[in-house]
Structures are given as structure tokens and as C-alpha cells.
């Protein structure tokens, strides 16, 4: 039986994409699998009794070394902010390509804590900063210094000691351009080095908290129990910066979604699923319930989503116990079809993620296909005809062409870049200033304009000729020809409409990162947790790859 890939017109709606969850394809999980046989070491740890100073951690294999350089600084409580306008952080980090010399570390000490206003070099690969969750951090220090383990309930409400507020890579602020490293075997999956930075930062937070506790009370202090450490991740506070990324990288977006959809298709096509495979799926699902029910959020929007997810999962478990026919063939197709008919998007996508768990053989080859050589698809095929372009627009953008942009509500918002921090923002076109400097993220609107423009043109006319008089539409002509080859490259929705929920765009990207515990703080930013439950670096040689369901 051949199952078709899910239709992009249905899948690429923002509400659907905003219901995606982590899976075996997620970058933090594939990072751990890739680096499990690398040698981990803590190469430098020079902190004072307050935990301020520098530290270096590394992963090494053969002749390659990646080193995380940490700078922990003293800041006042009123200087601590997760907002992008902050200028000081509890700690700042960079991932260095190789083994840093003392001169490198001194140079970076002058720049890394400054973040966006510092300068990095081609030797550095990623850059980040993080703030303590002060309440949890202080509680852990106090407990350990008194010879006790911290209260697990307090820890579980937050889930981490530090929260990063940005992770930069790919040439930002002078960091190495991607072309310098793209052919390295170990970084074939997207965001591998960003994941490495976050993972090593997590270990730094444990070492730092142990170090401070020990210095506070050398006689009585104990170390944080590894089981508790394992259950702590790294928080991340994420704003609108992620949203334009998924619009600006269409082939990459396609490759992420295409990998997920290919996995789903291949799993649904399995005629005889073994009992063991169903058990793995079902056990992960049951174990993950603990994780879902431990999500804490003040967001009514997210509370409703979690509530709906839990209710749907209960329905699904009832189905599995009472109505699922294991003896019938194509068991996962049965499960998927039942889910589509009976559950909401949040739970359907949750189940899709779980369905991948038994299948390393299907998922692992797809992981290496999730990067993209975007340069290769930049040129517009100027030799093609207007008829070709019109066909693409009608076939690939039919949902978008239904949107009436004469209505104000469909033009309500505009995306812009703030001058002070060069960060993306979204404003109300009819209230906020700056719409004349709108970013090219209103793809649906501009595709509609393009469709109007080609409507009256001769079928046989060439695209090169069309562009001569229509260069204002050049950016969407390029996208249309990309969409022709990459079916999941476009969000099939209006990114400037009044009903837009920007965090849907953030959640899509974060789900591929492998984030859990989505905690929206508004419709424009949210907090998440990464690596909660993950093995510690010293345990990487032998770990259960379903760790994420045990946190």
C-alpha cells in the first residue's frame, strides 16, 4: 500500500505547524546520537568562590576538537533581563573550533560577554548567553551547601538552573561562516553546533552550582545528585527572532518537514508492525504523559492546548485498549487514520512524533537530509515561461490565493526590524509606525500580487522578460520556483493577518530543536526547556535514546 505524503496545503497551516512536538528527528536528540562516542572533558575551571570566572569544556574525536568557553560574571539582580535589549548576563559562552590558547581565551573574554557588540572570529562557531533562574539556583546552592539535595518539586516547576536568551551561529558578529564547516561529517544535521553549545552549558551550570556550594560550606556541602542533574535542562527564552527564520530559509524548512512527513509515510506503509514496535510506541506515549502533566504555564492559550492534548491522549489510550486491532495489517496507518478522525491537531502531531520512536532504520537516514544548500536554489530560472509560473502559483499556492488582501484584517500586521537591537518585531499596520520599512515576510500578500501581475501576461513570455518590468516582485518569483521543487517550503497561511499567532511560528522551529515545556509568556515570546532528562556528558557512551520521556 502506498501512502501519500500529507498535503502541504493542509499541513503548512500555522495552527498545524504550531502543534508540532519534538521527535527522534529533533536536533538535540540527533546531536547526542552523533557525539555519543566523542571524548568529553572539562579542560579549565577557574571560578572564584562566587562562581565567577572562566571554564572550558570540550568534545574530541580523532583530530577534531570543539571547545565551549564559558565566562561567568557578576551582575546585579536589576541588570538581569531575558529581553533582547539586555546588555549583561550571568554567563556568556562561545563554541571554539579547536583547542583555544590562552591568547584566544583572553581575546574572547573581552568580547563574548558583550555579545552583539563584541566581535568574534572565524575560529568561533556559536555564541550565546544565559541568565540564572535565581530562585532555583539559590535554592540549589543553599541546599547543597547545607548537605542536602534540593527540593525536587521546586526544581520541576522550572526545570533548569540557567536560561539562554539567544544562541547565534552562521557568521553572526564575525563567527565562522557556514561554508567553512559545512562538509564536516559530524555536523550534517542542522544546528548541531548550537545544540552542542547548549548541552555543554548545561554541564557548566551543574559544575558551577556544585562549586559555589562547596565554597560556601566546604565541610558540609554535597554535590548535586546526578539523577537530579539529569532531570534538569537548559531553559530558553525565545522571542520573534525565530519567526522570520522559517520564512527566510524555505528549502531548509522544506527539508525539516519533508523528513518528518517521509518518516510518517514510511511508518504508515509498514504492513506488519511487530508487537515490540507497538509496545515501544505505546510505552513512550504513556511515559510522556508524566512530562506533559508537569508542564507549568500561566498562559491560558497554552493551558487550553495542554488540556486538549491530555483529553485527546486519554481518548487515544482508550482506543488503543478497546478498539485498536493489532491483528489487522498496517497498524500505524490504522492509528494515524483514527487520530485524524477523532483528535485535534496538537494530539495528532504528538502521536506522529511518537510513531517514529521504534524506527531508527527509517528515521536515522532522514536526519542527514535535514540540512540544505540554499545557495543552489537562489537563481531564478529566467528561461521558464509565464505559463509555468502561473501553473506553480495555482497549484502550490491555491490556499494563499483565496485570501482577500483588500480586507484590512488580512493586512493587519507588518514585520519590521528594530533599530536599537536589530531584532524582528511585529506591529499593527493601522496603529504602529514603520510599515514603510516592512520586511519581506508577507509572502501570501506578495504571492497574490504576483498572481495578479502574471494574469494578463502572455503564456509563452519568458520570466526574464517579466522581471524586467516587475522587479518589485522578484523575491516572490524566486520563492515560487523554489516551492515548485520543495513542496513544504512555504507556510500556506497569512503571516500578516489579524488572526496571526506568532508563537505558532516559534513553536514549529522549537519542536525541531527538540524543545519541551512550551510556556508562552505572550503571543510573541515563550520559554522552553532543552535537554531535560538527557544523559550527562559522562554517560554519553551508553544511554537510552528515549531519555526524553523519562524526565
Amino acid at each position: 500500500m502506498e501512502i501519500r505524503l500529507r498535503d502541504p496545503k493542509f499541513l503548512m497551516k500555522l495552527s498545524k505547524l504550531g502543534s508540532f512536538h519534538q521527535s527522534k528527528l529533533s536536533f538535540l536528540r540527533s546531536f547526542l546520537s552523533e557525539f555519543k562516542d566523542w571524548k568529553y572533558s572539562r579542560d579549565l575551571f577557574q571560578l572564584n568562590d562566587k562562581g565567577h570566572g572562566r571554564a572550558v569544556y570540550s568534545f574530541t574525536k580523532d583530530k577534531r576538537t570543539y571547545s565551549l568557553i564559558c565566562f561567568a560574571n557578576e551582575i546585579k539582580d536589576d541588570e538581569r533581563s531575558d529581553r533582547v535589549i539586555a546588555t549583561k548576563w550571568d554567563a556568556a559562552f562561545t563554541l571554539f573550533d579547536g583547542i583555544p590558547s590562552k591568547e584566544d581565551i583572553d581575546r574572547l573574554n573581552d568580547n563574548v560577554p558583550k555579545q552583539e557588540v563584541g566581535r568574534l572570529s572565524y575560529k568561533e562557531l556559536t555564541l550565546s548567553r544565559a541568565n540564572k533562574s535565581v530562585r532555583v539556583f539559590d535554592h540549589v546552592v543553599d541546599s547543597l551547601s547545607n548537605g542536602e539535595q534540593p527540593n525536587k518539586e521546586i526544581l520541576s516547576k522550572v526545570g533548569y538552573l540557567y536560561r539562554t536568551t539567544a544562541v547565534y551561529g552562521s557568521g553572526k558578529f564575525g563567527l565562522a561562516d557556514r561554508f567553512r564547516i559545512k562538509n564536516r561529517e559530524e555536523i550534517r544535521g542542522p544546528f548541531r553546533l548550537e545544540m552542542m553549545l547548549v548541552y555543554l552549558v548545561r554541564q557548566f551550570t551543574f559544575d558551577q552550582v556544585n562549586h559555589i556550594a562547596k565554597n560556601k560550606n566546604p565541610k558540609l556541602a554535597v554535590e548535586l545528585d546526578p539523577a537530579i542533574s539529569r532531570n534538569l535542562g537548559i531553559g530558553n527564552s525565545t522571542g520573534l527572532g525565530m519567526a522570520p527564520f522559517i520564512v527566510n530559509h524555505p528549502t531548509l524548512l522544506n527539508n525539516w518537514i519533508h523528513a518528518r512527513e517521509t518518516a510518517l509515510k514510511q511508518i504508515r506503509e509498514i504492513e506488519q508492525v511487530s508487537k515490540n514496535e507497538i509496545d515501544i510506541f505505546y510505552n513512550c506515549l504513556i511515559k510522556s504523559l508524566k512530562n506533559i502533566t508537569s508542564w507549568h504555564t500561566d498562559s491560558e492559550f497554552q493551558k487550553e492546548k495542554i488540556k486538549g492534548l491530555i483529553e485527546d491522549l486519554k481518548k487515544f489510550i482508550k482506543f488503543m485498549k478497546e478498539d485498536f486491532k493489532f491483528q489487522n495489517s498496517y497498524q500505524f496507518n490504522q492509528i494515524y487514520n483514527w487520530s485524524e478522525e477523532n483528535l485535534n491537531d496538537e494530539c495528532i502531531e504528538y502521536i506522529v512524533s511518537m510513531m517514529m520512536e521504534p524506527y531508527d532504520n527509517i528515521v536515522n537516514p532522514l536526519i542527514t537530509q535535514m540540512s540544505s544548500d540554499e545557495e543552489a536554489h537562489f537563481n531564478i530560472p529566467v528561461d521558464r515561461t509565464i505559463e509555468d509560473l502561473r501553473n506553480i502559483l495555482e497549484n502550490k499556492y491555491s490556499e494563499i490565493l483565496k485570501i482577500d488582501f483588500l480586507k484590512d484584517e488580512n493586512n493587519q500586521n507588518f514585520w519590521f526590524i528594530s533599530k536599537n537591537k536589530e531584532e524582528p518585531r511585529i506591529g499593527d499596520r493601522y496603529i504602529d509606525e514603520g510599515s514603510d520599512l516592512e520586511q519581506p515576510l508577507a509572502i501570501a500578500r506578495d504571492i497574490n500580487k504576483l498572481y495578479e501581475a502574471v494574469f494578463t501576461k502572455k503564456n509563452s513570455s519568458k520570466i526574464g522578460k517579466f522581471l524586467k518590468d516587475n522587479n518589485h516582485l522578484r523575491h516572490v518569483v524566486r520563492r515560487a520556483f523554489i516551492a515548485e521543487k520543495f513542496p513544504y517550503s512555504e507556510i500556506q497561511d497569512n503571516t500578516i493577518g489579524s488572526k496571526l499567532v506568532p508563537i505558532d511560528m516559534l513553536r514549529l522551529k522549537l519542536s525541531f530543536f527538540g524543545a519541551i515545556k512550551f510556556d508562552p509568556r505572550s503571543d510573541k515570546w515563550l520559554r522552553i526547556c532543552m535537554f531535560q532528562g538527557a544523559p550527562l556528558p559522562s554517560e554519553l557512551g551508553n544511554f537510552d535514546d528515549k531519555w526524553i520521556y523519562k524526565s
Partner: protein, 202 residues
């Protein structure tokens, strides 16, 4: 040092700010990155061009022909873009002459990309400077000073046929040398080491 990614993103935004569309700005960003990667001073030339862009009256080449002459000076971006967009039709000319173009180095980036699209090397002579564009993989040139080139009075472009740079004699000699890495055959060796039989007829 600024990364190539920073150069691309910033020149793209600067191009939008000066008045080009987002689509054209994307092209400029890519092209300046390309020039800088090839070691040519793209950003410096673009910066100088944008300083005078709004106060000068640069022209566009609408349809590229064998000989192109403006009243004032051609804009290297719009002309370059038209050159690129008309790549399939312009290669019918063996040679193209473009007179009076401002900041011609910016125009060259479009020529380099055109070389890749049409699958031909392009030789370009600009005043006393020569450039050979190799399918957008490299640019060979005698221009190494890194100066800003404010204008060129005359550019000549020649589309080079896809032919080898060596003679058949050169090839034979090299080929014969390569044969020395092979093992001589015999019926016995064919029988013992080849996958198929001794006769090809069946």
C-alpha cells in the same frame, strides 16, 4: 574581520534602503558576498556607488544588444540584473560591448553568475583590465589592486566556446602515460579475472 554572511545580509539591507526592491537587494547581497569571496573589493565599490546613486542619473540597459551605449552612465546593478536575466538570449552574440558603466566591478558579479547559468566561460576586457569568469567557480584577473573603480568607458565581453586548452597531441601523450597504471591482458587473465566470458557474441 566581517563574515561573508554579515556582508551578504548587510549589503542586502543597504540595497533595500537605497531604494531597490527586496528581490533585487537579495541579488546584490549574494553578489557582493561572491566578489568578496573571490577577493575582489565588492563592498567598498558598492559603498561608493550608493553615495552617489541618488544624486546621479544612471541608466538601465533595457534589452542587451551587441553594442550598448547610454546617454550618461549605466547602473551596474540594474544593467547587471538585465544581463543575467537575459542570459539565454545574449549568448547568441559572440561579443558584447558596453560603453560607459558606473562602478563596473559590481556589474562583474552578475557576469560571473551568468557564466555559470549559460555554462560558458566569459572573457571580459575593461579598459586595461582583463577578467576570465570560470562558471562562477573562480575569476581569473590581472586586476589585483583592490581599488574602487568608479567607471569604465568600455567593456568588451566574449563568450568562449567550450573547448579544451590543450591539443590532441597533449592529450595523447598524457593518456599514454596514464596507461602505465594498467596491467597487460592475456586470455588467461581474462578468463580468470574478468566477470564476463571470452566472447562478447551471444
Amino acid at each position: 574581520m566581517r563574515s561573508f554572511s554579515e556582508i551578504e545580509v548587510t549589503t542586502k539591507k543597504a540595497s533595500k534602503a537605497i531604494g531597490f526592491s527586496w528581490g533585487i537587494s537579495e541579488e546584490v547581497g549574494k553578489n557582493i558576498r561572491l566578489l568578496e569571496m573571490f577577493g575582489l573589493p565588492g563592498l567598498k565599490n558598492l559603498n561608493q556607488y550608493y553615495k552617489i546613486y541618488k544624486i546621479s542619473n544612471f541608466e538601465n540597459i533595457d534589452e542587451i544588444s551587441a553594442s550598448n551605449t547610454p546617454k550618461t552612465f549605466y547602473c551596474p546593478i540594474l544593467s547587471g540584473l538585465n544581463f543575467f536575466d537575459q542570459s539565454s538570449s545574449i549568448s547568441k552574440f559572440n561579443e558584447i560591448e558596453i560603453n560607459k558603466i558606473a562602478f563596473p566591478l559590481i556589474f562583474l558579479s552578475f557576469v560571473s553568475r551568468t557564466s555559470e547559468i549559460i555554462g560558458k566561460r566569459i572573457f571580459l576586457k575593461m579598459d586595461d583590465k582583463e577578467f576570465l569568469f570560470n562558471f562562477n567557480e573562480s575569476i581569473y584577473s590581472n586586476y589585483l589592486t583592490g581599488d574602487v573603480l568608479e567607471k569604465s568607458d568600455k567593456i568588451n565581453l566574449k563568450f568562449l566556446d567550450n573547448k579544451n586548452s590543450f591539443t590532441e597531441d597533449d592529450w595523447s601523450e598524457i593518456y599514454n602515460l596514464s596507461l602505465k597504471t594498467y596491467v597487460n591482458e592475456s586470455d588467461k587473465s581474462r578468463e580468470r579475472t574478468a566477470g564476463a566470458g571470452l566472447t562478447d557474441n551471444d
